[in-house]
């Protein structure tokens, strides 16, 4: 039966593009948040931590629902974007936003742990040598924290690639636009198209293994990746 309908391969590209874009956003935002948070202390920071980690704890559907409220026609951000002539909900950017928000806590946590591990004396030495705080971060803290940051990036990518609940709430299932592999699987099962569901599952497993294996190899193989890890 399914042999009659031709296979639509777009979910593969949508998933990859979404995860990649979300990981880049998460990397920048997670690093910035971790660097910002590392210099601060106090009871108010517990609240900030809680807020940053919320997407990890909440069910993705709840995260998606909040995002929907935020970006919807009557939401504060949605209204603002509407004035600029853009709608986010049910568009490709929505899949990116959903994936970035749910993967953010993983990046934030690992980046913070990695930055905290960096010996303060290196940063202080850089300061006495005339480096600005940006240079201290960019040229000393970040390279030394790099193995941890890399691990956080891999985790974030993996989480973004598997994202389903929040994406469905915010981006829906628009074939060729917002239908990622997990969403394609869900709707294949719902349509009782088991063969298609199984095919997508196998594709998902294959891509995940290839990506993670490749990343692992890159991080541990001899060559630039390895040198970067060992220089610590």
């Amino acid at each position: 039966m399914t042999l009659i309908t031709p296979m639509d391969w777009s979910p593969i590209w949508i998933s990859l593009e979404t995860s990649l874009a979300a990981t880049l956003i998460t990397l920048a935002a997670g690093l910035a948040a971790a660097a910002w948070r590392e210099r601060r202390a106090g009871p108010a920071m517990a609240l900030v931590d809680g807020l940053f980690l919320l997407p990890l704890v909440l069910p993705p559907t709840v995260v998606g629902f909040f995002l929907l409220l935020l970006f919807g026609r009557h939401g504060p951000l949605g209204k603002l974007l509407l004035r600029l002539g853009a709608t986010v909900v049910f568009s490709w950017p929505a899949t990116v936003i959903a994936a970035a928000v749910v993967s953010f806590p993983l990046m934030y946590l690992t980046a913070r742990a990695a930055l905290e591990q960096v010996d303060l004396r290196y940063l202080e030495a850089a300061r006495t040598l005339g480096a600005s705080e940006w240079r201290v971060f960019r040229e000393v803290a970040l390279p030394l924290a790099w193995p941890g940051v890399l691990a956080g990036t891999i985790l974030s990518f993996a989480r973004a690639f598997g994202e389903f609940g929040a994406t469905l709430m915010l981006a829906g299932n628009i074939p060729g636009k917002t239908a990622t592999i997990p969403i394609a699987i869900y709707f294949a099962v719902e349509a009782d198209d088991i063969r298609r569901a199984v095919a997508w599952c196998l594709i998902d497993v294959a891509i995940s293994l290839a990506l993670l294996g490749g990343l692992y190899y890159w991080a541990h193989a001899p060559g630039p990746g390895r040198a970067r890890l060992e220089r610590r």
Binding site: R121, E124, A125, R127, T128, L129, G130, V140
Partner: protein, 359 residues
């Protein structure tokens, strides 16, 4: 003066509260671990803020809590050599040193880098990573890096403590060479008495955050102002003392009267003598009391490769639980000459070597 420091900062166990000024000669800061030495350097470097006080370098105010001035570390041009060097592990030797040369144009930067490498005898090691260097090389890289910013003051935190003994004297010579060509204020923190003496021109003794002594090193070693300073500068023998007449003191703990070269009017004093100043003399029954010669018995001894420390009991043989009165240090060659002689031996506590100290 070139570098003026007057700061107070509360630390967990005591308050660092120091005030001194130094010129363009290296100043050694001697103190036991946890006396506030490192914190003092960190305040000068701008890595810590004192609670109150002022730091000025060549008429440039670096810190002034009253006027709310705190120049950040990166604008101070104060070179800091960290105790374990803190070389950037992810950068090569050349990249480490060039880190402080960023503001220069390409050609000038390369020139200055080459100059520093040559001056610190590092040429050829440009592409090595810190973990591939010996301790002495690491120290030279750290020194070159600290000098790269042409600092107006140089701070060294235990520069030799991370090195093996056989490397120390060589690295120390290198440091002396650097100081000779530097001619700007340099603070050198150490807990090693000999290092402090050899590398510093002047000496500051720090104890629990306070300046216990400050001045020319020869003066402090010859006449420590207090018992504490005497102890911190390596004096091992002390006895409570009482002045009997102008130059006769009674050493209570040593049970004898001593002729002394200096008089001290205070009633409560201590008398002290350094372990290597104790003289061993032929027994002479006719010696006059003012010679400060006393019979002594050996309680125990402890050897180092070239010297021996003898723990001595004065006046009569030690009982089962007697403690030694004095601790004398002599070269082994000298000890060979009298070790076979029957006890008691005789020690002379020369009046010139004795110092009288206020409590």
């Amino acid at each position: 003066m070139a570098l003026e420091i007057q700061i107070a900062k509360k630390l967990p166990d005591f308050t660092l509260d120091v005030s001194f000024a130094t010129g363009d000669d290296p100043l050694a800061i001697l103190g036991p671990s946890g006396s506030g030495k490192t914190m003092l350097l960190r305040c000068v470097a701008g890595l810590e803020r004192p609670d109150r006080g002022r730091i000025a370098l060549h008429d440039r105010t670096l810190t002034d809590t009253e006027r709310r001035i705190h120049i950040p570390a990166r604008h101070r041009r104060v070179g800091l050599l960290f105790q374990h060097y803190a070389l950037f592990p992810h950068r090569t030797v050349a990249e480490n040193i060039a880190f402080g040369l960023r503001h220069l144009a390409g050609e000038e930067r390369a020139h200055r880098l080459a100059l520093l490498m040559e001056r610190m005898h590092l040429t050829g090691l440009e592409r090595r990573y810190p973990r591939e260097l010996s301790g002495g090389e690491q120290q030279r890289v750290a020194l070159a890096r600290a000098l790269s910013i042409e600092p107006e003051a140089l701070l060294l935190d235990e520069p030799l403590s991370a090195l093996d003994t056989h490397l120390r004297s060589r690295v120390e010579a290198q440091l002396q060479e650097t100081f000779a060509g530097y001619r700007r204020p340099a603070l050198l923190v150490t807990h090693n008495i000999e290092e402090a003496y050899r590398l510093g021109r002047e000496l500051l003794v720090l104890s629990r955050g306070r300046v216990a002594a400050f001045g020319p090193k020869e003066e402090i070693f010859r006449r420590p102002p207090t018992v504490e300073v005497a102890r911190l500068t390596g004096c091992k023998n002390f006895s409570r003392a009482r002045m009997i007449s102008e130059n006769l003191a009674e050493a209570v703990d040593w049970g004898c009267q001593l002729r002394v070269a200096q008089a001290l009017p205070r009633p409560a004093v201590q008398v002290g003598i350094r372990a290597h100043h104790i003289d061993f003399v032929e027994s002479s029954p006719g010696a006059a009391p003012e010679d400060n010669v006393f019979p002594c018995w050996l309680v125990r001894s402890s050897e180092t490769p070239f010297r021996i420390t003898l723990y001595l009991h004065l006046h009569r043989p030690p009982g089962a639980s007697s403690e030694a009165h004095l601790q004398a240090e002599v070269f082994k060659e000298k000890w060979q000459r009298f070790r076979e002689r029957p006890l008691p031996w005789h020690v002379r506590l020369s009046p010139e070597s004795l110092f009288l100290l206020p409590e």
